[in-house]
């Protein structure tokens, strides 16, 4: 039953550019982040980090620290209270298979920077000072942190990570076809280890409410995950732990899993029966999740016109000794390109590091980077234009899913509109053939792809007698604009002005949503909010029709529209009732509905769902000195319905900028002798600055998708995918130097 007030029918706000509803709070400093909530009995925890990467703690001497006036306690593995016994209890909602890291668990050192003590003091400065006085002695073993060193021990993960598609079984005979192919390309690719580095350091403020109850402000991309983790680890009832995080100062995946500062803050708060805050320092942001290194080999066999005859993508990704972190690295070529002989393999190798974690477009950034450079190499080998080559091998079905159709795939429009906007036709393909004064000019392009997902999600809508609507759930607002798009959807669903809608997020007192990640929040929470509003609409409609002499008497729900705060007969707008009147007449203070949105099983059994992009970039490289300027980017995106072009564009800009960082700047440098990342600060780990970013043009191509009622496919990841490959391809076009290892720094270009 299609109902008129669905947002697809009467879009007033949905689809139009809207400024963020949380904008005023963010520009005035009123938006509060996890470390900014407080309590009258607040103590401050400061983490002492391990100086070694592998071995055992033989002695911790905290006497000097404890002697500092103002120090409350120093927690170590030797004196901390018990928490849950089983590994299983520490597994959060998005944990990979294995035994999650447990801070202060025992004397074993599993990675460099591991927390070994928590100094708790009356004020932050005292905790920080006392932490320098904690003396830790170790028995040191030699760490292994270079994935090349353990490549031979790589293994296929025995237990699959939930939600991560393993590589499909091979089809055809990729090796034989490769050997017989007229054109054979086989190369290795690597990108550097990256750290998320959201601007807000990880932080947890645990407010002890007495009576074994806690209110927790945690930097997390979904408060439900923290709440379940705390309940499980500390043996608490969920009702005794309320977790909130109204704003997140960037996550990019680092906030999907509860991190150790949450465990430590809870541990201390429970021990001391008082409120405790633990904030990580910027260098401690290198002591948990990261985008893992992967050794990758891509083999392409093709005919002389570029038609693919064989395709192999083999990757060995890094993980920790305690968990099998997995991401989708090698499947993408099979999704994007038509080929009869395909083999895709993915293995893991264990290192003495923390477990890697999802970082913006996990796996796709890694794998698509390799494939899309390989395709550019094939374009040069065959003399076929890079876009033409991709069209020649274009796939209308997902071969990795047994040939299922795509729900929608407007990638061809991305190529066309992106190329047009960029001026691709004016490109002379010969390397070093375009220049501007002393700079070589390079134009490169690549395809991006990301899975479009939806998750089981609940949401609540509450209409009050004053005609105001509140919607919300536990989803995290991670900077993507969730407050705003949910307000747009809710306003349209009930025909209210946006000012009359309030969105509440990041509070476990609201209905449960999964963590915000994977680009699924708009589809999932958006649909759930729409359904909850629809349910409220149905209830208020009943009240309106029951009114004495109701203009809506004998009108069916299907024949009314909700607009301007009123319910009106669709083909006779003069017959209408305001929501406020209906509520008053029915004697209702509030109408509340909680609804659940679930993925469409019928759709999912028939179709596969992906977002796509075509990224075009221009680089200008000083011929003599190798300085790269990325002067132009056009990113053409096919991602279904765009709910808010303004915030949507920003998401793509952000993805592109992070892709630029990945391509040209970002690298966490490990001293393998020490097993330690050494450039653990924002002065030496380079992320793009304003001066690095010139013009970025974002195009959203039309794409109709039916995976969910909103037609939305998600935007959080697609902007980054393909960007680094497009840049590497442009660098080749400019210089004739093929860059297969990121970042492309000046030393590689001289």
């Amino acid at each position: 039953m299609t109902q008129h007030f669905s947002t697809t029918g009467h879009d007033t706000f949905v689809g139009s550019p809207r400024s963020r509803v949380d904008g005023p709070a963010k520009v005035t400093g009123l938006a509060k982040y996890a470390a900014e909530f407080t309590a009258s009995d607040l103590a401050h925890g400061y983490v002492v980090s391990s100086a070694i990467a592998k071995g055992r703690i033989t002695r911790i001497d905290a006497r000097a620290a404890e002697a500092v006036p103002g120090v409350v306690k120093v927690l170590t593995h030797e004196n901390r209270d018990r928490t849950a016994w089983l590994d299983y209890n520490y597994q959060d909602a998005v944990a990979p298979p294995g035994s999650p890291f447990r801070a202060l668990y025992d004397d074993a050192i599993l990675y460099s920077g591991q927390p070994v003590a928590l100094v708790i003091a009356e004020d932050f400065e005292t905790a920080r000072y006392a932490a320098t006085l904690v003396r830790v002695k170790y028995d040191t073993e030699t760490p292994v942190t270079d994935v090349r060193q353990v490549e031979d021990e790589a293994y296929v993960p025995p237990k699959k990570r939930n939600g991560i598609k393993p590589p499909p079984k091979p089809w055809g005979d990729a090796d034989a076809a490769f050997d017989n192919a007229p054109i054979q390309l086989r190369q290795d690719y690597r990108l550097a280890i990256e750290h998320h580095n959201p601007m807000e350091p990880h932080a947890s403020t645990v407010v002890y409410e007495g009576d074994g109850k806690y209110t927790v402000y945690d930097k997390i991309q979904g408060v439900s995950n923290s709440q379940a983790y705390i309940a499980s680890v500390f043996g608490l009832k969920k009702d005794d732990v309320r977790v909130m995080n109204p704003y997140l100062g960037g996550g990019f995946g680092s906030g999907l899993r509860p991190q150790y500062q949450l465990f430590l803050a809870m541990l201390a708060a429970r021990d001391l029966k008082r409120s405790v805050r633990v904030v990580l320092t910027r260098d401690q942001m290198w002591t948990f999740s990261y985008r893992p290194d992967a050794l990758q080999t891509v083999s392409l066999g093709a005919d002389r016109d570029g038609g693919l005859q064989a395709l192999r993508h083999d990757a060995t990704g890094a993980t920790s000794h305690f968990e099998d972190y997995q991401e989708v690295v090698v499947n993408w070529a099979g999704v994007l390109y038509k080929c009869d002989n395909v083999a895709l393999t993915y293995k893991l190798a264990k290192l003495d590091t923390h477990t890697p974690s999802d970082m913006r477009a996990p796996g796709a950034v890694t794998g698509v980077f390799a494939i899309e450079i390989a395709m550019d190499e094939l374009a040069y080998e065959t003399g076929v234009d890079p876009i033409a080559l991709r069209l020649r091998n274009y796939s209308d079905v997902d071969a990795t899913a047994g040939g299922k159709l795509f729900g929608s795939k407007a990638l061809k429009s991305c190529f066309e509109q992106g190329a047009e906007r960029f001026g691709w036709a004016k490109r002379t393909p010969e390397p070093r053939s375009m220049r501007d004064g002393r700079e070589l000019v390079g134009w490169g392009m690549a395809t991006g792809v990301w899975e479009s997902m939806m998750m089981q999600t609940n949401a609540r809508a509450v209409l009050t007698a004053d005609g105001k609507l509140e919607v919300g759930n536990t989803a995290g607002e991670i900077g993507t604009g969730t407050y705003t798009i949910l307000a747009q959807i809710a306003a349209d669903s009930l025909g209210l002005p946006m000012e009359d809608v309030t969105t509440k997020l990041g509070d476990t007192s609201l209905p449960e949503a999964p963590v915000s990640g994977g680009s699924w929040t708009a589809a999932s929470s958006g649909t759930a909010v729409m359904k909850a509003c629809r349910s409220v609409a149905a209830q208020v409609f009943v009240l309106a029709r029951q009114m004495e002499a109701s203009p809506l008497a004998n009108v069916d729900f299907e024949r009314v529209v909700f607009a301007d705060g009123r319910i009106a007969v669709a083909d006779d707008p003069s017959r209408s009732v305001s929501l406020v009147e209906a509520m008053r007449a029915g004697g209702m203070d509030r109408i509340e509905a909680v609804e659940s949105a679930t993925p469409d099983k019928d759709f999912n059994s028939a179709y596969e769902a992906y977002t796509h992009s075509a990224v075009f970039v221009e680089v200008k490289i000083d011929e003599e000195l190798g300085q790269v300027r990325l002067t132009r980017v056009v990113s053409a995106i096919a991602a279904g319905k765009i709910l808010n072009p303004k915030t949507a564009r920003s998401q793509i800009l952000g993805g592109v900028v992070m892709g630029i960082g990945s391509a040209l700047e970002e690298e966490s440098m490990m001293d393998h002798r020490l097993g330690r990342f050494m450039n653990h600060n924002l002065g030496e780990y380079h992320v793009p600055v304003n001066a690095d970013i010139y013009d970025i043009d974002v195009i959203f191509v039309d794409e109709e998708d039916k995976a969910n009622p909103l037609g939305v496919k998600g935007l959080g990841e697609i902007g980054i995918v393909g960007t680094a490959a497009a840049i590497a391809n442009a660098v080749f076009h400019a210089t004739g130097k093929r860059m297969r290892h990121l970042p492309i720094t000046v030393d590689k270009l001289l």
Binding site: S49, T132, E439, G626, R629, M678, A691, V746
Partner: protein
């Protein structure tokens, strides 16, 4: 950050006296490096002497040149009209460094005294001869992409991170210092040290001595100069290699040349032979290449920074070309002239 005594000095004499025999006393002005290092527990002063109220914040005409008070901020110095007109090399070097916020806080004296950005120096979990003499230098054979190619020792391969100092070296400034034994002048070339076997000492300042001013000589090379900085992003990053070049031309010949490099040694790196080689020669690419070859001939790269040798060679040539042509590198237009 450790506990320390705090003293607010009103005069240079008070400051020097407060330094006295205090345990690990440090003067603090802008604090942009010292507070940074204190938070990492790399610097652990027993006493901080706040010198920001000393009357050292003026830029004055002096002996045909300029006398820059030690407390003049980097920003005030860069945007001073006299500096812009007569010492634009210095202006550009300052503006190539750090960020606007840091330049607003950082002082002239502090810029001279900033410490290396070596990863290991900054990380108390690792050994470092500069931080804890005798513990070793893990940068040798480790991560040394950003380290020295000139003048390093078995004990230390760190670089001096300043941009401003590279220009001051090229300009042959003089550092005026005051201490328990009175006032003295130190030629800029003698102010910073090579690491040798005592890398813990960055400069030739004696204990308790305070930088009072930096004096610029008359010649500013304001017509033919450049500050060319190459780094891992287009702003707000330390130099991999930088070149300060100043030329006096006589027609198409070089009359005098000044050339200093940043990011390549424990101090701003000058090579007098290369400057002498340029003298009297035609201001051509061939001449500049010969000078660059001479400079890099004595380079001794580490395991990961061999690229700096070639980068320095090319940057010297380009920098001298920019200077000769009167087209200094723009700070805001990132295209290299």
């Amino acid at each position: 950050m450790n506990r320390f005594d705090y003293v607010r000095a009103g005069t240079v004499a008070e400051a020097v006296q407060a330094y006295g025999t205090a345990d690990r006393a440090r003067f603090i002005a802008g604090g942009t490096n010292l507070v940074d290092l204190m938070k990492y527990d790399v610097e652990r002063p027993g006493r901080l002497i706040d010198i920001t109220r000393l009357p050292l914040d003026a830029i004055e005409d002096h002996a045909g040149g300029l006398r820059i008070g030690a407390l003049v901020t980097n920003a005030a110095l860069a945007y001073d009209a006299r500096v812009g007109e007569r010492y634009s090399l210095l202006r550009d070097a300052i503006l190539a460094g750090a960020s606007a916020q840091l330049r607003n806080a950082a002082s002239t004296g502090g810029n001279l005294l900033q410490r290396t950005r070596c990863y290991y120096f900054y990380d108390t979990a690792t050994p470092c001869n500069k931080r804890e003499p005798g513990t070793g230098c893990p940068a040798i054979g480790g991560l040394n992409r950003i380290h020295a190619i000139f003048g390093a020792s078995e004990a230390c391969i760190a670089t001096h991170p300043s941009d401003m100092c590279v220009a001051l070296a090229a300009l042959e400034a003089t550092v005026r210092v005051s201490g328990p034994a009175g006032e003295r002048m130190i030629a800029f070339a003698d102010f910073h040290r090579l690491p040798g076997s005592t890398p813990e000492k960055d400069t030739n300042l004696e204990p308790g001595e305070i930088v009072v001013s930096v004096d610029l000589p008359e010649t500013g090379y304001a017509r033919n100069y450049t500050y060319l900085k190459l780094r891992d992003r287009l702003s707000y990053a330390f130099a991999l290699v930088s070149v300060a070049a100043g030329l006096e031309l006589d027609g198409d010949r070089v009359k005098t040349a000044r050339l200093a490099l940043g990011g390549v040694a424990h101090k701003p790196w000058r090579n007098r032979e290369a400057e002498a080689l340029l003298q009297g020669k035609p201001a051509t690419r061939e001449t500049f290449q010969a000078a660059a070859d001479l400079v890099v001939a004595e380079a001794k790269p580490q395991s990961e920074n061999g690229f700096k040798v070639e980068l320095a060679r090319r940057a010297i040539v380009r920098g001298l070309e920019q200077a000769a042509a009167g087209t200094p590198q723009s700070i805001t237009d990132k295209r290299i002239q």
